[in-house]
């Protein structure tokens, strides 16, 4: 089965300063690599999680896939079509199959439009004026579990959870093949996080849509993704089957992340891995393995030699000289 989304060796660079400033400050390379040599595949109907902390590049990668941010090198193939370097008009057609859900639920809704207009916006943008907007709005609202009278409300009249549903309804308008959800549970209380996630699960069961979920919340990832990738400083440090990674993480950073989301049990024995220091600036990438200066298991080669991808099991890869949980 061919992959729905195929990302190969993608690099996204941002300019940090203008040519004049670079000259005066003698900076040779005034760029930062927000995403560095990332490759992965997503099958139709699959749910994949991109996990990382701030500065990991997960949001940038998502935006690059959605065409909101230009890709410096590498290829992004979606539904057999190459996306990088595609013109605006051609990309417009792709946008019908690829929808985004944004992190800020109310902020991503145009404040002066009613919900009904907001969720039928995709039809208007793509010139589908023959549709009955009212009916479509009703259908979409129903799909996300909101009553039809929500169509008359404005974004500021919605709670966070309701605004998220509206965002999802909008994403579903053109029946996409892939939904990229950027932090769908951010800012939500624990007691309502489940609503959004259960809804996504139901939609997926009904429509077979694939989901790429960007999040820093490992607890969420565990329940709803088939596979996940951990990002650090713009690179994948580990990618594989979710259950497998949770049970036997290989990369020390993965282990640290897992232990940083404790279960609420005061008596639980926490193997709390504390990694010291902070995420280095993208302008000063560490040498060798980029995690070496924070790694509790640092070894000889780590400072000078960048590790290549090793395979743990089928589909499970990591970059580490001294991986954990290896069965030898």
């Amino acid at each position: 089965m061919s992959a729905l989304l195929e990302v190969s060796d993608v690099r996204v660079r941002f300019r940090t300063m203008g040519p004049l400033a670079a000259l005066t400050r003698r900076v040779h390379d005034p760029y930062i690599d927000a995403v560095c040599n990332v490759s992965f595949q997503l099958a139709p109907g699959e749910t994949v999680g991109l996990v990382g902390e701030s500065g990991s590049g997960k949001s940038t990668l998502a935006r690059a896939i959605a065409g909101l941010v230009p890709v410096h090198s590498g290829s992004i193939r979606f539904a057999e079509q190459e996306l990088s370097g595609l013109g605006q008009r051609s990309f417009s057609r792709v946008r019908r199959e690829l929808a985004l859900m944004f992190q800020d639920p109310t902020g991503s809704l145009s404040p002066r439009m009613k919900v009904r207009s907001l969720i039928t916006e995709p039809y208007r943008i793509h010139g589908m004026r023959d549709r009955n907007f009212r009916q479509e709005a009703k259908r979409l609202l129903e799909m996300v579990g909101l009553s039809a009278d929500f169509g008359d409300r404005y974004p500021h009249q919605l709670s966070g959870g309701q605004a998220r549903r509206v965002g999802l309804a909008r994403a579903l308008a053109l029946d996409p093949q892939l939904i990229i959800a950027d932090e769908p549970t951010a800012g939500l209380d624990v007691s309502v996080q489940g609503e959004v996630l259960n809804l996504l699960a139901r939609i997926q069961a009904e429509t077979g849509v694939a989901i790429l979920i960007i999040t820093h919340n490992l607890n969420v990832v565990r329940h709803i993704t088939d596979r996940m990738a951990i990002m650090y400083l713009g690179r994948f440090v580990e990618i594989g089957d979710t259950d497998e990674i949770f049970e036997r993480p290989r990369h020390p950073y993965t282990e640290a992340l897992l232990s940083a989301s404790p279960e609420p049990d005061p008596d639980a024995q926490h193997h709390r891995v504390e990694i010291h220091g902070e995420v280095p600036s993208l302008m000063n990438r560490p040498t060798g393995c980029e995690f070496h200066n924070r790694c509790p298991y640092i070894g000889e080669r780590c400072k000078n030699e960048a590790p290549a991808f090793s395979q743990a099991t089928s589909g499970h890869f990591y970059t580490c000289h001294h991986p954990l949980n290896t069965s030898t």
Partner: protein, 298 residues
């Protein structure tokens, strides 16, 4: 999982929210200066609209026997040096003031809006280029600019409107540009781009309505400036031609005869003061009402 949600908590359902107009009225009642301003503005606007019907005398009618008369029952504001009723001239002058304000503001706003949206949303080079033009225009003192234009076109009402419009465009364009720039990276704009919306749609449907509100309020606070500007230009003889009454020309006429009678000057200046106060109070009250960040104290 709940199937439908019909209860609202931290938002307000459309049925429950007090009508926007009623809410606005309630807010306005809390701003006494704003109400005064509103009254003054209405007074000006209505008297300007119905001027031909409410003037007690023909503003241009010369009554030689009653030159420079003090205010009386027959002439509430007295008469000027040609015996013309000052009150009638003031009311007609209001028409001129309002016409200039509306016409020049209208032109400045529409062109400024367009240029500001382009500068804020378009490519860097366009923004830089437009800013250069704006700053160049703004660096000219208005009076010098007016002199130059009057020399070219001859003094008239239209020259005034033109001058005021052209010098105001950069101001509004800059405001719109700043707002557009700020909004450019808002999530909902990003969402529109992600859905494939083009620049025209984004600017017209999503940016414009959000920019218009604050812009109009600011514009209403500029009306007194424009009125004063027109009066000033007319006072210098660069504006409306006699015998058309304008507050500025009333002042001009009265100025020469100030030793004989102070009244024309007083009543020429009074409407300018009242109009300025009116629009300023009203504009500030509107701005405070529509500012979402101001909390209402207990």
């Amino acid at each position: 999982m709940s199937a439908t949600e019909t209860t609202m908590t931290d938002g307000v359902a459309p049925g429950e929210e007090p009508g926007a107009l009623k809410q606005f009225w309630r807010n306005l009642r809390g701003e006494p200066l704003g109400l005064i301003g509103l009254v003054l503005v209405l007074l000006l606007v209505l008297s300007a609209i119905f001027a031909p019907w409410i003037v007690p005398y023909n503003p241009n009618e010369i009554l030689v026997g009653e030159r420079l008369a003090a205010p009386s029952a027959a002439h509430w504001m007295g008469t000027d040096q040609l015996g013309r009723d000052v009150l009638s001239r003031v009311i007609m002058g209001g028409r001129v003031a309002l016409l200039v304000a509306l016409a020049s503001l209208g032109a400045a706003l529409s062109i400024g809006l367009l240029l500001g949206l382009l500068a804020g949303f378009g490519p860097r080079w366009l923004d830089n280029g437009l800013l250069l033009i704006f700053d160049a225009v703004r660096s000219f003192p208005v009076i010098i600019f007016a002199l130059a234009l009057v020399a070219l076109l001859g003094p008239s009402l239209y020259s005034v409107i033109f001058v005021v419009a052209v010098t105001s465009i950069p101001i509004y364009a800059r405001i719109v540009r700043t707002q557009t720039l700020a909004m450019r990276n808002n999530e909902f704009i990003l969402a529109e781009r992600a859905m494939g919306a083009g620049m025209a749609r984004i600017l017209g449907v999503h940016v414009l309505p959000n920019v218009l509100g604050p812009l109009l309020i600011l514009a209403s606070m500029d009306v007194p400036l424009i009125i004063t500007l027109e009066a000033g230009l007319s006072f210098l003889g660069m504006g409306v031609r006699p015998p058309t009454p304008s507050w500025g020309t009333i002042l001009n006429d009265g100025y020469s005869y100030i030793r004989n009678s102070p009244w024309p000057v007083i009543f020429g200046g009074l409407p300018i003061v009242l109009a300025t106060l009116g629009f300023t109070f009203m504009g500030e009250a509107l701005r405070d009402i529509f500012d979402p960040k101001l909390k209402r104290d207990l």
